[in-house]
Symmetry: C2
Subunit: 251 residues, 2 copies
Amino acid sequence: VADELARIGYAGDEPLGQRRFAAFLELHIEQGPILEAEDKTIGIVTGGQGLSWFDGTITGMDSHAGTTPMTTRRDAMAALAELTLAIEAVALKNQPHGVGTVGEVEVRPGSRNTVPGTVRFKGEVRHPERETLEAMTTAVKERAAGIAAARKVDIALTPVAFKPPLDFDAAVVGAVAAAAEANGYPAREMISGAGHDAFYLASTCPTGMIFVPCANGISHNEEESATEADCTAGAQVLLDALLRLDAALSP
Amino acid sequence: VADELARIGYAGDEPLGQRRFAAFLELHIEQGPILEAEDKTIGIVTGGQGLSWFDGTITGMDSHAGTTPMTTRRDAMAALAELTLAIEAVALKNQPHGVGTVGEVEVRPGSRNTVPGTVRFKGEVRHPERETLEAMTTAVKERAAGIAAARKVDIALTPVAFKPPLDFDAAVVGAVAAAAEANGYPAREMISGAGHDAFYLASTCPTGMIFVPCANGISHNEEESATEADCTAGAQVLLDALLRLDAALSP
């Protein structure tokens, strides 16, 4: 990264990490349905869930869809179907927090008339407890191996990222809670389901986050929306919490 | 078609259907595993299975993969996974001949980090008996409706083609059988799993087909292969059957 920044003229003079922050706070919409459902204005974010990302390639055998008996097929798409439901089942077994998704899929050769011989996909599972997240990751691998054996296909799962769950700083979380209470905003503690800048800053200084409600919990969608009143409340808590932290942390 | 043929200068002088054929015979690899498995040289094709083709669009809701609880998701990919296994199950319930395939899939928006809100796919079921083929088509529709209701997604299935099963002409089938026997080739009656030119000619004249084995039943794949000896046997049966038909049909 340093080499590339130098190459494009964006490296700057200051060495990485020289400017220390006393604390970091991030204000964000919840990107989920909880605050709206419970009629709360402020989410006091205590930490973030962990995630386990994996890429997969399923290799079966291209063959004619009309002439290949069901019993001799090696159908990569049928195998992905079973694995997608298995990932969903692993998440459902680890409620209330577990989630699992297959979000990207490429089916080859891609003809109605041909049993698919190759599927590539990208998936993930998430959970706020490290032990459970690791168990979910293992369960997905085991289900993939079982499906591969039963369907005579190869399923290669490549881990892409494993981010363990994160606890935010107690003093920052406390400042957010005190600021919400002082302003009379209904609030609750919660974890972040998504990743945020704050997750990276948390390794360098005391860090926390503030959530405000969003309509129907929708995010990553053009319908994403938050009210002006909730955004104002969020900004007020951000200011008040920073003043509290400033007072507490100043020498 | 006539207009376009005229426009590009390929229309010709002869009106469509003026040249009548006394009979039509087509020689082809089986594109399936049966002849090889039973050590037969000639497949006496008695007809073709019917097929039911459909296009599908599943509409759920794009949402953040990390923050959307499993219970509030409307995941179009998970719905396709369930429907793909349902189509497979419908085919497996109608053995030994039923087949079912999902061969083309497009998942949108196509991000690991987003629960897919839209899936488009192309699928089919096939069976050699019309009544069963219709029942399989109905079963797929019913399963789709059930999955859509349970998962709060919309599943639109559009029929693209319905080709009923086809019986070849008894005299042509008989000529193929007699030619195989006269040459001492091990033979068996069978149906065609794939569509062929002969299926269209069958509506205009007495028609039949001859199959020869192919390696591992593989077709629509670069590994497609047939031995010279089997191709020679097929050509011999084609010639002998045509001579028999010529003798039988000549005035």
